[in-house]
Amino acid sequence: MPEKTTKYVGKAVRKKDSLQLLLGKPVYTSDVAPKGALVVQLLRSPHANAIVKTIDTTIARKVPGVVDIYTWQDVPNQRYTNAGQTYPEPSPYDRLILDRHLRFVGDPVAIIAAENEKAAHKAKKLIKVEYEVLDAVLDFRTAKDNPTLVHPEEDWLPLCDVGGDNHRNLVASGEEKDGDVEDVLAGCDIVLDHTYHTRAVNQAMMETFRTYTDLDRYGRLHVLSSTQIVFHCRRILSRALGIPKSRIRVEKPRIGGGFGAKQTSVSEVYPAFVTMKTGRPAMIVYTREESQIAGSPRHEMEVRVRLGADKDGRIRALDLYTLSNSGAYGEHGPTTVGLSGHKSIPLYTGSLEAFRFRYDVVYTNLQAAGAYRGYGATQGIFAVESIVNELAEKLHIDPTELRDRNMVRQGMTMPAYYNEPANACALDRCMARCREIFDWEHRYPVRDMGNGKVRAAGVAMAMQGSGISGVDVGSATIKLSEDGTYNLVIGAADMGTGCDTILAQMAADCLDCPVEDVAVFSADTDVSPYDSGSYASSTTYVTGKAVEKACTELIDHICTIGAELLGCDAAGVTFEGDCVRAADGRTASLTDIAYKAQVSNNCAAEVTATHSSPISPPPFMVGMAEIELDKLTGEVRVLEYDAVVDCGTPVNPALARVQTEGGIAQGIGMTLTENVTYNAAGKPIESSFMQYKVPTRLDVGHLHVEFESSYEPTGPFGAKSIGEIVINTPAPAIAHAIMRATGVWHRELPITPEVIAMGEPDQA
């Protein structure tokens, strides 16, 4: 294996911003935005589907401190998407900054700019709106071909052919297959057919959406925002506002969590519009309620799975149909749905003879969905891993053994994953190791504790990708400074994940220097080299490779300058980290080379390199949950969650571990407590943390994470990815454990105590 010896890669290096964060220094958007900006607030629709008949702002404008109020009449009429995706975006252009047609409870009706919060609040109450309330599409199962159209407008614009049709409430639709699934199913000993439902859970990052904007010293629009996608954000604003990209600069400071939420430009356009109108600095900070009801949550999905197997547990066919609810706008709709099949079916490449994957993505009059860690894979894996557990129960085969017989293994080609190769796959070792650390043999059997409580266990596997193959672009600029230290400039966005640090670790190993000598800066569209942004688990794998390339090229440049200094041929010198050595043993120090680069020099002491990958190597994972269930109340406590992850080389095991633990905790929340419901008029109920229960530290049990490394030949230092896969196993593993404890399969999340206490065993 071409494994390099490393000093930093593979080590638990502290995050570069650790102490700033832990000591509460001012590093986030609200902390660094200059004071005195106009307060921007939005009047939001109280109706799920309505037309603004009349809107009168005269009285509201009279409130002292109100600077201006904008309505649908004031904004450009060019449709755009908020989705942070590579152009041409698969998400349809279906938004206006303010639209006369309001499509969900929370859709913005007016933008208020005021000197202070109180004035903005007051004005909001004084805007008089007459609504024509329309029938709303609130159940996504009835959306397709519903006579009520969410987007009846003629200027609805899809840039890509993803099978969408606004006259059918369709954002996208499609079908993929390999082999004849019906044929294989017909020949199977056992066919299971079940439907699994997951809701539009919220990322609930602790820092809500927020953006500050002003005009810079060249009169350009300057945007300071908590975003994962500075470059996409610039493009989105350019189209929405109708101004050239060169007139916009987007930068991000530290981000208080993203998890995909900030891969959509949720809040940027409003203050940007105000700044363009007034010429004044403007700022919007979403309340928690706004983040809950008008953010960019997970796509609600219903996945119907038909699984065909032999009596001996050979899984021969999988047939998936996913119905995805994109809500009022199409952001990430056409793409998230794909992962529900692409990241679930290939887990069973080992035995599958045929598969089919069909999907519809529909518009409804509910909050628009977006990107949330896992991005559709989470929903698909809940379905497929659950039905595999159902199969194991039916056949009385241990579910871990059943998976051993069917799982994808290293060296296989995955037909359900664009025929990509499993170059590096330690899924089998993950399963073996997890069984061992969890003590599966003893914990899997159901144990009645004699006090009305039952202990039981469940298991699930998962995969994800590492970047979007053939699309994502990562870049890195690396510069040598006079004292022989380096600056690494990237366009990827560290949102707490630690990518600034792991990329510096890679650079330090490439350049053979202390990691402290690599200063990292990200991300600013004026300064950073182009990067798609931090999403799709791309940063380690794609941007990491760009860092590696940039360092290799910079070493060449350093050698060239050093050779000139030494008066010899560049081909004859070697780079030794702190110096360049000529064949005769003479050396030029890095400092001398850096100074030489500033005097009579034609070779830049800096390099920008770009990388894109034709494949997206999947990380793999196994998770096992032990729960204690109260038979009387239906209360479930997670006692232990063990996971073993194959992320290729864990570049920073401490950060990879915490990513995993954090993802598991989110998965536990999605499974047990985080509910999303609406009243009959389509108004969201769980609009605050009082109702939307993210797990506390008493709710997650003991988490134990280990790594089974593989070596991905196309990744930097053998790395794949870690950020998203980690949220995928809890739902199916815990649902499995609950079934073991109660005899009831719950195929809809969240599985609350009420649902458990009322649960009836299946007739099937």
Partner: protein, 159 residues
């Protein structure tokens, strides 16, 4: 209204505070950027500050109620925080960091009240401090390592 209080050891007098100003807004306006807001509804613990050395949720308390009292934010507890936050950093548990100030404040309160807590006591005391990134386990490991290292230093004074 005018509000006088002691903020991080310094006397502060602010005229013209609206009576409905929360302590959170008041402190941010005073430049205490460490104080964060995650929920506005007393559910997340990010806005934790000390009122007369007792942790309170500043999002849900009027600034007027703090008048005449001693208010402490993380800005005023840097040295005490520095004693243990490195152990959290070593776990990589700082993550996005947005919950960190509230978490650090409440951990300081815990350790002042109970210098040698068990894991269960730590979890119970900090249960009101949400963190969406870390899954909590790394925060617990960090505190545990800190306590272990402090206790071992105590046991071997000449080491």
């Amino acid at each position: 209204m005018e509000i006088k209080l002691q903020l991080n050891g310094r006397a502060v007098r602010v005229p013209d505070v609206d009576p409905d100003t929360t302590l959170y807004d008041f402190l941010r306006a005073q430049g205490c950027a460490s104080v964060k807001c995650g929920c506005e509804t007393s559910n997340c613990g990010l806005c934790t500050v000390f009122l007369d050395d007792v942790p309170v949720l500043s999002c849900s308390m009027l600034a007027a109620r703090a008048a005449g009292h001693k208010v402490t934010t993380l800005e005023g507890l840097q040295a005490e925080a520095e004693e243990f936050v490195g152990f959290i950093a070593d776990q990589g548990a700082d993550q996005c960091g947005f919950c960190n100030p509230g978490f650090v404040m409440n951990t300081i309160a815990l350790l002042r009240e109970n210098p040698d807590p068990t894991d269960e006591e730590i979890k119970a005391y900090l249960s009101g401090n949400l963190c969406r990134c870390s899954g909590y386990e790394g925060q617990l490991r960090g505190i545990r390592r800190f306590l272990d290292s402090r206790n071992s230093r105590k046991e071997v004074p000449h080491a």
